[in-house]
Subunit: 447 residues, 4 copies
């Protein structure tokens, strides 16, 4: 059976992921993501109203015109988890394919919201929920399996396409976490089985985000330990404490909520995306929050919440807000500008349970946000965080577990791939044979 | 009563700390340390045989000739903890003063060993053990108190000299740790009392090592959580695992020993300083190790231990060795060079539970060490560590607790002070009045 | 005679410089500058309409209320050169003092323009032109002298106040340049004389902008050599070439104009500040430009110029535009956004004859600008530049020439001072005696 | 005709370059270099006595066993210039091939010296001198041409193998320099012709050393301008001035010699490799030095020279010495340790006309060297230098000139290639088609 891999998007960048695997006549598409940075560089763009071709030209969504070169039918569109760089182009591209969208529950809910917010296209693909550990047939001879992985969002999976020639493991995005705070540990046992059963692994496509980082990415349990340490150290502080993190990082939000209560403060989630992700997680039962946890998304209700906090004494609350990257219009930046009813006083604490995405635009915005907060007297606790992506020793462990015949680095630029290439080369892979450094828009023939 | 502070050493550098406080006719000396870097820059120097004046000229030990300018008698020499930059010059300088050396038990034992190893001078000062929480009179009107603090070595204290004009708090070296793994948490309650009782704090001398770092230095509990995460992730590895850390970091060594057993390996401490510090800690009851824990210091016994490990299967052991900075003659570097009986295989793991001291010499040596280990196939887990020194939010907390009239940044160069000066200025201190940025060899008149 | 120095602004930052020297009853004020960064952090602020107290609160202009503590009369306000951080607060503060503004011709013209643009205050101080090498009496016993120095703007001087107790040398801003392209070399001979004549130098206030940089800041002749090398290498390119630099950097603009002609292109200066500074320089005869050199400041005339360039063939022109820091509204950024009639094609060249001011906000904006230009196909030549400020060996040379009794580092934050303090300490100065590390708002008693 | 390229060494690193091109039955080998870093990591290795297989195992010389896979006869071994990473393995490998070594005069002389110093192998290949601009036939249908390029050593060429299928341009190492101080400018005209004549360029192998650097590498004329600026600024200094640079960098040494005389000092070249390279350059007429220029290599004659300098007054001399990377045994480091008769005094100047090769080992050694020099009072002028390798705009220009069908990045690791891959991709090359990112030991089939 012919097997080929089309590297549609996310092979020159972090963002707008999309990969298609053809096994005989059947094609499975993994991820359809958005490169938000290529949108934001332009002023005042509203992607909801834009046509996909314009977004492709901007480098915002994958250029899927290469799909015409693949001789087969798309049987499934499989987003691996709910981050925008993996699902953000579904509303622009999925309608072109006569295939269901298959995803884990939380991911699927977020996909639905994307589809609803879309203003230009009507996405009417079937939506199929599939949990980690489950499988579905793809055509006559292949099978799709979801293996549970751990990432900075819940319900992340690595899809595996079992073919007669061996398994194709699509390894985006994950870290190896045995104590993930929410959800099950990564299923390394299953990866090791897949590496050894049948034909073994024909090809492994890997998340190289952190491939230039040494060592092991710590577990979420370590971030939790860091966060608890910071928050417990503030137990006696009787002024305002504010925290921010990735809205979609449900495990972290849960820890913030829990530790707020440990130090005698009432947590409140504020900001549109805070409300969206946590609300969704709670609705599908993936996370449990206190009954009385306030989540406010709309500007007016947020302001009302802030007023209540100021009235009842801000020393009794922990607002968990958006703005961890210093985004100019996010809640925390607005607080820094004094545009909300929440008043910062000298000595008030701001906890960034996130790290700045290392790109000058973000760094500039975050710097401005911290400066504004500092001008109001705030004290900053930053980088209370661990990454959601494998570092080099995680990559080593995955190669050891899967023993793939071919490897394809993804989810980075060439510079980002370099650490992975060095590592794979040391493990015996060769650039001219089985280690495929490629770019967007290519097709790799495996069989 | 006249109060003045002589900034003898460690005010232009990290290393060779020494400060004298005169209150009326009585003088207390805090720390007498060594700047090892200024020794190692020269080839083949053996400090044991060197005269103090030569070591002063080299910048290796404090230039205490300024003591002649202080009109009073030294009543006590008080090393705050057992690191060489705080006790390493005692054997060269203490005999000049007719005063006892007063220290916590572990520190005092290490001082004794320094004195025994000295080949040039006879130090015969009385050695007085004093625990955190205890006090002793200094002259008629002053009192010396030890407040328990937390640092990367056990038994660290901050000495406080209570004078009629207020307290002098000597704040080197510490972090604020409420969960320090071994020993008691930092006694913030006592610091807050000292800040408010009597005349309050006249002067606070502060450890600025990390004063340019944002946020809060995490607790040792966080390092422990990181370390456990790394070691548990290696539970299934059936080859060699080797760890290295600061020999004097008893809490870390204890964690390494404990986690070794958790993952089914027998820990063994190897290297002269590993044996020295852990042996001392065990002898005085400050740490409890398994009965059968091997500690080997001499070359021959280390080699014998390595041979036994190889014979019995290295997958059953965790050697904890010296060499975390890549020191050319340390155990780990020798392992990298293949000079020990321990053979590294492809995939074997080396855990650096330490970070490189950020200076090009160390960075070069550590890089070489990692390269040598890597050439033998070792996989590196580095920086599994947290610092022992306060970052900016710790400094903020200390100023808030003590409310000192004067502050004196120490334990850094001018560049290192800068973050502290900015912070203190924001809290209302002024360089021309009560914020004393100074250098080695000056006298600050407080009253 | 009593001599004291009030460090009003620019001793915690680069920006809003202001220093007063009192010699007996007479006071001379050096610089009254603006900290633009503290303005721009706020959205949509128009300083022209703002009151000085609000600007003081924002940290935008010096807090000159400390002037009340100085017992004497201001005899002169002396801006050293025409950069905004040295003259930008004159329009807000000078009217409070009954004293003339004394400056070199180019500086004085720029001060006039500041005063004219001011919307809130009426500055009616006398304006006195004084050239490098000239002197004027200050009170009965003092004399003000201008010594020629070299900086990234023409007509920079270092004012020296000769007092009976020795000279006060105000050393902001300069580099030691013996081949400055435009104007005379720095007058080191005069500095050496001042260091040796009469009482010598009582106090030297130094520009520490680059005090943490090793080596020597190269001459403008080196930047010119770099720039010529870049431009000559593009001689055969037959598409668009665009250059940007500091508008006030007349020597650099002159070189750009000259090399444009060397490679057969017609230079055109575009952007409001390009027109302002070059126009002023030409008017006062400080620079000579080709008769037909176009300078266009207003949006409409700029767009007309761009249209003409596109019509006549952009391969025949070198537009020299604003936007070297990626400022969002500057000309080059607008070109990157496609908002001007100038169309960039694949392979067109953009020369940044400037370096990014190393602060995250600038770095973020510059990155965005380069990305936008790159998206249109532009190739970037950046950092074709040398600094206008002394590095460490220049500081060494100045101390050696002046042999001052006291030194006061200025024009930086504490971190920025650190390299200077280390250097001065090595030359025998001492923080507790004659090396005055201070902050905004202090008074140093010298005699 | 079949054309293939074997990437033997230097495709994962900077060092041990070796590439073979087979055109039909004829093979040409470009470079046979040494990776010195992989030698120095081991203690006390003397490569002269070592067997090639051991050196291959160490990664010190290219693993040329892959040559067996190429079906054809080696017709020429062509070192491109005289740096060790290009000629350092000739003495270990060339004797295996029955082919002449063809090189430009200076390169050939250095090859001869390598062969003479070799202790293990007898290299007896013919040595053929060929100048830039000349050609020689390779087999019946191919021709080898040398195109003049500019690098940090004189007599650098880029060899071009003209085949019936197009030209193979071997582009290591160069910058585009139109004003190289010594020798002719790079022959861009010839490159452009080659790009357009006949079949054009089939393949371009490129020097990616600086492919991650933006902009243009400046001409040696710029380094000369920088150096002159530094040295002229020291004209009045009446103490010791010492300079160091790459011994093989004849243009730089020439400038140092010339400027020494300009400021009234007698230059003297000191150190074994200083004597070797400059002596060779002078002997073959490639450089002209003053008749009385002293060059001393042996320890004794160097010490004698130093003594003479001290006797006659060091203010009259400019010693140009080895040690620009802080190598522990080089002359300058020994001066720092006080091991030579040359005594440094406070304020003496040391000019590093070189930059530190950015690797932690070098950085550590250089730091130590500067610290030692500083402890003796020396003032450091560093980085008075420009690189010898193309930056991104040079790469852009070369692609534009040659218009190659295929490109092969070389002379770097994967991380180092990344900037080149990005650039080439932007110019339309594709990783899966004509942009060959490869590693050591592969064969690329072009035709």
């Amino acid at each position: 059976m012919e097997i080929e891999i089309a590297t549609i998007g996310g092979y020159e960048e972090v963002g707008r992921q999309m990969t298609a695997v053809r096994a005989g006549d059947d094609i499975v598409v993994f991820d359809m993501g958005l490169n938000l940075s290529n949108v934001l560089i332009h002023d005042d763009i509203r992607t909801e109203q834009m046509h996909s071709l314009d977004l492709i030209d901007m480098g915002a969504i994958p250029d899927d015109r290469i799909m015409n070169d693949l001789e087969g039918d798309v049987q499934a569109i499989v987003p691996t988890h709910g981050h925008l760089d993996h699902i953000g182009a579904i509303s622009k591209l999925a309608h072109r394919y006569d295939a269901p969208i298959v995803a884990a529950p939380f991911t699927l809910d977020l996909v639905k919201e994307e589809i609803q917010d879309e203003g230009k296209f009507q996405v009417q693909n079937d939506l199929i929920e599939m949990d980690a550990g489950e499988t579905m047939p793809i055509g006559d001879r292949c099978e799709l399996e979801f293996v549970n992985v751990t990432h900075s969002i819940i319900n992340a999976i690595n899809p595996v396409l079992h073919t007669p020639e061996g398994a194709i493991v699509y390894g985006l995005d994950k870290r190896i976490d045995h104590t993930p705070v929410i959800g099950d540990p990564i299923d390394m046992k299953r990866f090791r089985e897949i590496g050894r059963e049948g034909q073994g692994v024909l090809c492994y496509i890997e998340d190289c985000t952190n491939a230039n980082k040494k060592g092991r990415t710590p577990s979420e349990a370590v971030a939790r330990s860091q966060l608890r340490d910071v928050m417990r150290s503030l137990e006696d502080y009787d002024g305002g404490i504010v925290a921010t993190t990735f809205s979609s990082h449900i495990a972290r939000v849960t820890s913030l909520v829990e530790f707020a209560e440990e130090i005698g403060r009432q947590p409140v989630l504020l900001g549109r995306s805070m409300e969206k992700y946590s609300g969704t997680a709670e609705r599908i039962g993936a996370a449990t929050f206190p009954n009385d946890l306030g989540m406010y998304g709309h500007r007016k209700s947020v302001d009302r919440a802030f007023k209540r906090i100021m009235n009842e004494g801000k020393e009794n609350f922990l607002p968990v807000v958006t703005g961890h990257q210093g985004e100019p219009r996010a809640m925390l930046t607005r607080m820094g500008r004094g545009e909300t009813p929440y008043e910062l006083d000298d000595g008030d604490k701001v906890i960034f349970s996130a790290r700045v995405i290392p790109e000058p635009t973000n760094e500039g915005q975050r710097y401005q946000s911290e400066r504004l907060l500092g001008m109001q007297g705030a004290r900053i606790y930053d980088d209370v965080h661990v990454s959601g992506h494998l570092s080099q020793e995680g990559h080593y462990t995955m190669l050891d577990a899967l023993q793939p015949q071919h490897v394809v680095p993804a989810h980075q630029s060439m510079k980002g791939f370099s650490g992975y290439v060095d590592l794979a080369a040391k493990q015996g892979y060769n650039l001219d044979r089985d280690l495929h450094v490629t770019s967007n828009g290519n097709v790799i023939q495996l069989v």
